[in-house]
Subunit: 361 residues, 2 copies
DNA sequence: CTGCCGCGTGATACCGGTATCAGATCGGTC
DNA sequence: GACCGATCTGATACCGGTATCACGCGGCAG
């Protein structure tokens, strides 16, 4: 008896059991080449009897294809990325691919480490929602590409990378939301949240600079906010945008500050779920309510937003579709398609509910 | 030039570049055996120069160890499982293991297929939140174990399987919640949701039978509900438990029905997030509000539950910890520890907020 | 000076598949 | 009956690592 490492029978053992050559068993089980019906039946029976399962590792070694996709996201525990991942793995599995997921927690070092893991495991392709901002932060992605691993970006485009990217119309979505607020009569509109800079930018130019040095989605949403303000000729006020670290806790403080301003905010636009829950807490703390005291619109719709009282007006991203499309694009490239190297933009939707009313008095 | 499949340099190429034997390069790069400082330096330099990365597949082939964990959950898009997964992958990565995730959508066939994928990919161990109910539904898990792959259950224990299981005190948690309701004076307490049987059970015995033939968590939570009722000598009323398919939509209908009863429900206990959002919608539809018209307690706390107005009293599961513990148990077994084959029960917490008040009049 | 030991190194047999290629078998044809 | 070709099968060289083992060389003891 050969030293059994507990890995189950090999193709050689099946061949021996069936009384055929190794190659014949391999052809039958691997589904390639020709094998006569009789031998095929014997091999199949032997495999069945022994409970044979092909070793995917060995197969990958010789074919050079692992049928595995690598996915790098900021946080697998975040409902947005969880939904994205669901879209990715649903379509990947439908095409016979499995998925390895790595979270980076927005940390570039972890993203680099994750990329290396995926290279080492010889995944066939990578989908990444990258935290990389500029030219000198994308070496790891270039390294993967240099090794012939196709990469598709999702949720966040990276300007320094000429790659397929599957994203939503963040700027349009933000503009539309702010337009709704403006149409309702608001002119003092808070923005939660902006770029994570230490010092609040005092000029619009500074703010824009900070935005382009931050996550693509954040920058786009900020630009959409400014677009809407510009169109309505509302002057930009740096006091109304929250900057710095992005925690729900800080949102409570920042929105509280905007609410305490002499010329206080009458509407708040939140670019993320935590921004909305934080704003809600700030409102309650200030003894204010929505939509009468302040109007609210947020990003990333959920079942909760619909059952709030009053229900919240939210921007719904096509999360599942975003992931599905990213997987499709990647799988098509793996299937031999030429990478389009373009932005695939999916439409988000503003779901009007009841958190927007005209400003007080 | 050897046919470059774009996989990057191999150990042989590094050895050639460094002018040493393959074995020497392997020892250096693999970190085993002895190599003199000079040669080691030359190998390292060559590897650096060529951008060498070890092929984890090849390594796994010869060592028989893949440093990969397989995780099977119901739905990766569900925040509960997403959080669980985060706990799992955080601790796995800290110990040098990566994770392959598969969703089953509560479908046993998919769970079996997922198990096979993991066997084929030769994962070192498996963590599964199984949909299997009885003896004849666990063959796939037995098959993995027979191949020497350790399996740890998470979230859901499976009676037919004598394995380590990392779970929470579902029955206690449910009992505590219902006790709080009873202490506030409620006697007509709705339960959302029960076993997915077609016909509403008319007797307590039937219900219990249905519960044990359903998901372990669901059964436990139902038992906790009955425990609390029993302790308070409140007779069980089959009209107050929702059975059948579990969708938010159906919850709206069922809770609506309980609210329309002559002797209507004055409190509702929800065992899942969708149950709570559905109940909230049913309340609004009926023109009722909480906590005055009906008291509410639900499972799975979230940021939203805290910002509802009034904020919801919820049971918080230690989601991250649940995943982390499951990974720990599995990794310990992989490290040579003897499987305890016991239930590791983590404590959940009832977070009292403001959705419970005495019943009307 | 010879023999032995030990150390460092390289050759090589694995792991379990795939893929190529040579050879055996068989039928058909002249 | 011999030859040819088509058909089917099995032997074997890969893939890129790990691990065993043999060998060469130097030092030291007898």
């Amino acid at each position: 008896m050969p030293a059994d490492r507990g890995q189950g029978p090999t193709i050689s053992e099946v061949a021996a059991e069936a009384g055929v050559g190794r190659a014949t068993a391999a052809r039958t089980l691997g589904g390639y080449g020709y094998v006569s019906p009789e031998l095929r039946a014997r091999v199949l029976a032997a495999a069945e009897k022994l409970g044979y399962r092909a070793n995917a590792l060995a197969r990958s070694m010789s074919t050079g294809v692992s049928h595995t996709l690598g996915v790098i996201v900021a946080d697998i525990g975040n409902p947005f990325f969880a939904g994205l991942l669901r879209g990715i793995s649903d379509t990947a599995r439908a095409r016979g691919f499995d998925v390895i997921v790595l979270s980076t927690y927005e940390n570039l070092q972890q993203e680099i480490a994750a990329t290396n893991v995926l290279i080492d495991k010889r995944v066939d392709g990578v989908i990444v929602s990258s935290a990389a901002l500029d030219r000198d932060q994308v070496a790891h992605i270039r390294a993967a590409m240099d090794r012939g691993i196709p990469v598709v970006l999702v949720d966040r485009a990276v300007a320094a990378l000429d790659l397929d990217a599957v994203v939503i119309d963040n700027r349009d979505a933000a503009r539309e939301a702010v337009e709704v607020l403006i149409a309702a009569g608001h002119r003092r509109i808070g923005f939660v949240w902006g770029p994570p800079v230490a010092q609040p930018p005092s000029t619009r130019r500074e703010l824009l600079a900070a935005a382009s040095a931050s996550l693509w989605t954040d920058g786009e949403r900020l630009r959409g906010y400014l677009d809407a303000l510009d169109d309505a000729h509302i002057p930009f006020d740096p006091e109304l945008v929250m900057v710095g670290p992005k925690t729900e806790e800080r949102v409570v403080g920042e929105v509280g500050r905007m609410l305490a301003l002499p010329d206080r905010v009458t509407a708040v636009f939140c670019t993320e779920t935590d921004g909305m829950t934080g704003s809600l807490r700030a409102l309650r703390k200030a003894g204010l309510s929505y939509p009468d005291d302040v109007a609210l619109i947020g990003f990333d719709d959920s079942a909760w937003a619909a059952v709030m009282d009053p229900p919240l007006t939210m921007i719904a991203q096509p999360v599942h579709q975003l992931g599905a499309k990213a997987a499709e694009v990647l799988l098509d490239i793996l299937g031999g398609a030429e990478p389009a190297r373009t932005m695939h933009t999916l439409r988000s939707h503003l779901i009007q509910r009841a958190s927007v009313a005209p400003p007080p008095e």
